[in-house]
């Protein structure tokens, strides 16, 4: 009898699994069909007509995860030991502590909450917040600093490390430069308009240079109208509350940036998170939202807004734009696309992911981007239909309360945009975009050949190399600095516990020599620290191999 029930249970499970497999099979057939459709109907040979790239998030072998936990376990044990020594008095305590008479009260300095900061971060703190003393171009100068008491305090030796290769700045098109000819117009505008606006857009802060820039941005993106804001983060966090409110639904990607999350929270709308770039998860949520409506009352949602980013800055993955646009049209939702990292950096003429996928920009309801990354300035924009932007001019918190963008920055963006669009009469902009694309392809191909695990789409200039173990993260950063290469590393809790990484941001200003130097050093460091975990065989000439990859990646 027991055996019979066991068999029945197994059959039932497999029955539902079979149904799931059929559904997944149909969905993947739809995906394949849409791939073929994209391939057949996109003319030409450019980037947009290539079938969508397979974005693998390769997992490391199991022993790597076990060693990572071992590393964290040892650090935690030593942390407890050090805390004990500090409490007993055998070790000097560098942190703030309560006075003797306050020790019986509720603790003011929450002890356990900065356990990680005290015992892990402080020991390796010299890899972050390094002061630089030149502009953050493709190379920069670092001030050398040493610590006598294990990173609790730092002291500058007075020496400068010159020409450290910069692999951390979001300098995608190389506009962070000190070229006198290029900056001449900016200096002129400072003479004309001054350095600060000292007012909000709605009061007396609306300058003609702002209108000029807004017209140019709208022209560049191919939309009706645009509005610019002084701060990139605030563009998201101050405008999403103006667009959605209570009774609306926001479907936000798992890996969205903090500014999008903050804007969504401030808006008092209901937020649901779908798995990163996973169209099945998104479609399931859309169907459930349209069918069931609001949670208790089951009234229909006032608006459904899908929030995605063009390029995700920590993964380097690119959004699946054609599929999201198809989903949004089918379920009548709105799309908010945050192109902070992708504007100017991807696409044959730098127009972002819409150009990369050959999607009509009018299909996207709200296009947002920042000028901080590819344009070497500060601030952000929101672009779309004229009614939308006119509404934001009156109702956006930024427009009412925040100061307008300052004139020299506006002029810097203007001249960078004109350079990219070719309106300054040179092909400098196009050259930079092509150089960036070439650097991206070269760097990613070489890294994969060497055997590192990297995430992200082949076209994205953000390249995270997975390091996994906390000790290796720190050793990697210090080793690269000794070889005069500056990298950005991130670990737990900013990333999931097993996915600590180093993030490389490529730039059009990097020459082939610099990249070769970086790759050479990466090779050596990868061998020394055993970082080459990839188990895939990668060749740089895939057309010579006859295999096709039909994996279901979701």
């Amino acid at each position: 009898n027991n055996n019979l029930t066991k068999v029945k249970h197994v059959l039932l499970l497999s029955h539902s699994q079979v149904i799931q497999l059929i559904i997944v099979g149909i969905a993947s057939c739809q995906q394949l069909v849409s791939h073929i459709v994209v391939q057949v109907f996109s003319p030409g040979n450019g980037v947009a007509s290539r079938p969508q790239k397979h974005e693998p998030f390769e997992q490391a072998p199991m022993y790597v995860a076990v060693m990572t936990y071992l590393g964290f376990g040892i650090v935690t044990l030593f942390g407890y030991l050090r805390d004990f020594l500090r409490a007993v008095g055998l070790e000097k305590c560098h942190l703030a502590q309560e006075r003797e008479e306050q020790k019986d009260f509720i603790p003011l300095y929450q002890d356990f909450e900065n356990f990680y900061t005290r015992n892990l971060y402080m020991r390796v703190r010299d890899n972050w917040n390094r002061p630089i003393c030149s502009l953050p171009g493709p190379v920069f100068d670092l001030m050398e600093r040493v610590s006598d008491d294990y990173n609790w305090t730092f002291r500058f030796t007075g020496k400068t490390l010159h020409n450290v290769i910069n692999m951390g700045s979001y300098n995608y098109l190389g506009f962070a430069e000190n070229n006198v000819d290029f900056l001449k117009t900016v200096a002129d505008k400072v003479n004309q308009y001054g350095t600060g606006v000292c007012s909000t857009r709605q009061e007396i802060g609306n300058l003609s240079i702002h209108e000029e820039l807004e017209g140019l941005v709208a022209n560049f993106l191919g939309v009706e109208s645009a509005m610019i804001y002084g701060m990139g983060f605030a563009t998201n966090s101050m405008n999403i509350p103006a667009l959605v409110g209570k009774g609306c639904l926001i479907l936000s990607d798992e890996l969205n940036h903090t500014s999008l999350i903050l804007g969504a929270r401030l808006s008092a709308a209901t937020i649901r998170v779908f798995k990163h770039n996973n169209m099945h998860s998104l479609e399931r949520m859309l169907r459930e939202a349209v069918c069931s409506g609001q949670p208790r009352t089951h009234r229909p949602w006032k608006k459904i807004l899908i929030m995605v980013e063009g390029i995700y800055s920590m993964e380097g993955s690119v959004v699946r734009l054609p599929e999201i646009v198809a989903l949004k049209k089918k379920y009548k939702a709105y799309l908010y696309l945050d192109e902070a990292h992708s504007i100017g950096a991807v696409g044959p003429s730098g127009k972002g992911v819409t150009e990369l996928f050959n999607v009509n920009p009018t299909d996207i309801d709200v296009m947002m981007g920042t000028f901080t990354k590819s344009f070497g300035a500060a601030g952000g924009y929101i672009a779309g239909k004229k009614e939308l932007v006119d509404y934001l001019r009156s109702y956006s918190h930024s427009a009412v309360y925040a100061t307008a963008m300052s004139p020299p920055i506006t002029e810097q963006i203007l001249r960078a945009l004109k350079c990219i669009m070719g309106k300054d009469g040179t092909t400098e902009g196009l050259r930079r975009i092509h150089q960036l694309a070439e650097n991206t392809r070269f760097f990613r191909a070489k890294l994969k050949e060497m055997g590192f695990i990297i995430y992200g789409n082949d076209d994205s200039p953000v390249v995270p190399i997975l390091l996994y173990m906390p000790g290796k993260v720190v050793a990697f950063a210090r080793e690269m600095l000794e070889r005069r290469i500056g990298v950005v590393v991130v670990g737990f809790p900013a990333t999931p516990i097993t996915e600590a990484r180093a993030r490389f941001c490529l730039s059009a200003a990097h020459t082939r020599d610099m990249l070769n130097q970086v790759l050479h050093h990466l090779n050596e460091v990868g061998d020394t620290l055993c970082l080459k975990f990839s188990r895939r065989k990668y060749t740089s000439r895939p057309d010579l191999c006859a295999e096709t990859n039909l994996e279901l990646d979701s």
């Binding site: 969205n256 809790p493 990333t495």
Partner: protein, 153 residues
């Protein structure tokens, strides 16, 4: 809120036990403890098994049911500050796979220990008390319950 964070997880502590390789590392840790105890020459095998069981349950009780809060700052305005790690797991959803795993491991260890100690009375009492101390806090009815005001703040 921490800018430059690679996920939108409010409390990373909730997902730690679900990460890849965590269960295997946990089992390997117990095996390592057992081997270390077996290497001590003057303790008999039943005592070693009882010691493994007791030490494992004590560590589990301390780490999962005594220590509260997170070792790093979270953007949830201190919602998890008074919760133990067991209560934080998966944001309080009961009967997830990690919770089931962590409930089953002490039981398996107890069964093995009972076998290897040949069901001796003293060992049995010690092991059962220790198992109860680790199983009772895991009951969903005791989620957030602090008996006699111990460990409340």
């Amino acid at each position: 809120m921490n800018v430059g964070v690679a996920h939108s997880e409010v409390n990373p502590n909730t997902r730690v036990m679900n990460s890849k390789g965590m269960w295997l590392s946990y089992v390997l840790c117990i095996v390592l403890l057992h081997l270390v105890l077996l290497s001590v020459p003057f303790i008999s095998v039943p005592t070693v098994w009882t010691l493994t069981n007791l030490i494992h349950n004590m560590c589990m009780y301390l780490l999962l049911h005594t220590v509260k809060g997170t070792p790093f700052e979270t953007p949830d305005q201190g919602r998890a500050r008074l919760l133990t790690h067991w209560e934080q797991m998966d944001y309080g959803v009961q009967f997830t796979s990690s919770r089931k795993f962590l409930t089953i491991i002490p039981i398996i260890l107890y069964i093995l220990t009972s076998f290897y100690t040949k069901y001796d009375q003293t060992h049995f009492v010690l092991n059962t008390l220790s198992l109860l101390s680790v199983l009772v806090p895991k009951l969903p009815q005791l989620h957030g319950v602090r008996l006699f005001g111990i460990n409340r703040y």
